[in-house]
Amino acid sequence: MKIANAIFPWAAGLAVLLFAVGLPIALVTSPPDYQQGETVRILYLHVPAAVMGEMIYYAMASGSAAYLIWRHPMAGLVAKASAPVGAMFTALCLICGMLWGEPMWGTFWVWDARLTSTLIMFFIYLGYIALGDAFEDPERGDRAAAILALVGVVNVPIIKFSVNWWNTLHQPASLSLTKSNMSGEMLLPLFLMMGAYGMFYVTVLVIRVRSELLAAKIRNARMSQIAGNEAAQAIG
């Protein structure tokens, strides 16, 4: 917690700074693409979100493993606090992708391998969050969700492999992404946004872990108080 407290202002500051610099570059000053025109700017929101969604999933699974194996409470807390952020990035990737798809492909959605696995990952995130919330006893929710995260992490590569196979056999129309080589001017905003998202994640993580700790504290204090009353009553 002390380390987290130390990092927090830096992470928050960097997140604000990177967004402040990155967003204008990405959305205004970067050059339009010769094929995709102005809509290429969605890329700067879309691609980092996709990367973050996936990275956070693995962070969550590692945290869960540490929590289950060593019963390390902080690791469990980090995993739990990561999930909504990861789900949010995945949702952002999906939304940007869909909004981009309309001008590029003429439809909001195609059953392309990458899109599809992102969608499934989003569902796995939702399952993790829902399971964690479903128990009367918050500790049980944490443990159950941790087991699910590990089962899920074994499945993610299997799902990717399956969806790819499915996709290559079905040869979905001529809608595949145009892999234009990224020019230098595109890489800069991309990296800026990547960094901004990363710092945003760290910042939110610290806030969420803190509030979880506070909630546990309040819960415990209230319970202990009630337990005290109960004991006093039993004696009196």
Partner: protein, 230 residues
């Protein structure tokens, strides 16, 4: 059953603490139960008797402290489980199986063989013989609870953990329970009973779980933070 006696040694726990739903139910609790002994758990509603029994069964890991058999700390929970029988509020009676089938399933599972004699003896002990072919779903509250108690007798185990075993029992069944416990202790078995009323044992140590409940709100320091999150 018959004449065999147990040699499991003393079951003890030291410095036990248990946290449920984020609060400490009890802390610093210790007990020691010799072969042939009885331990009676007392305490107001919510003081943690059921919690302690589940902890003794190895279902809940203690937040602090440890259990031991003859001073050997418990490490293999399966080995511990094989030494005990646990009768909880839940009767684990299958509505679709008859009384006899319910019992012989557990007998086969625990002893590894089909032992009809043991099943019959267990039914006799709790006055269930005439209900042998009755399906579980037709039993009244007390009959169902008697069936759960009869499970204690289908395959021997040295340690009995009983949570309010007298609930819903009529006069005759209370007597049967007392007799079964006395017989079990006579053969070197030990028993832990959580009960508000009669404890069904002639002599035995009483443990008031309520006295181990933390009395006041815990003081929170920054260092305590991480621990409390668990």
């Amino acid at each position: 059953m018959s004449g065999d006696s147990f040699t499991a040694g003393t079951f003890s726990g030291s410095n036990l603490a248990c946290r449920r739903g984020g609060r400490l139910v009890f802390t610093g609790l210790a007990f020691s139960l010799p072969a042939g002994g009885a331990l009676i758990l007392r305490g107001a509603n919510g003081s943690g008797k059921t919690t302690l029994l589940r902890l003794m069964a190895g279902l809940i890991p203690p937040t602090a402290g440890h259990l031991a058999w003859s001073d050997q700390p418990l490490d293999d929970s399966d080995e511990h489980a094989a030494k005990l029988r646990f009768v909880s509020h839940l009767d684990a009676v299958k509505p679709a199986l008859s009384v006899a089938e319910n019992l012989s399933f557990w007998s086969a599972l625990w002893s590894g063989r089909i032992d009809d004699a043991a099943t019959l003896r267990a039914m006799d002990a709790f006055g269930l013989r005439h209900l042998a072919t009755f399906p579980g779903r037709l039993l009244s509250a007390g009959q169902r609870h008697r069936l759960a108690l009869a499970r204690l007798l289908v395959a021997p185990a040295p340690l009995w953990l009983l949570d309010e075993p007298g609930n819903a029992l009529d006069e005759a069944s209370l007597g049967a329970l007392t007799a079964a416990i006395a017989d079990h202790r006579g053969r070197g078995g030990s028993v832990v009973v959580a009960s508000h009323g009669s404890a069904f044992v002639n002599d035995g140590n009483t443990l008031d779980v309520g006295t181990f409940t933390p009395k006041t709100a815990v003081h929170w320091s920054d260092d305590a933070d991480e621990e409390s999150a668990a």
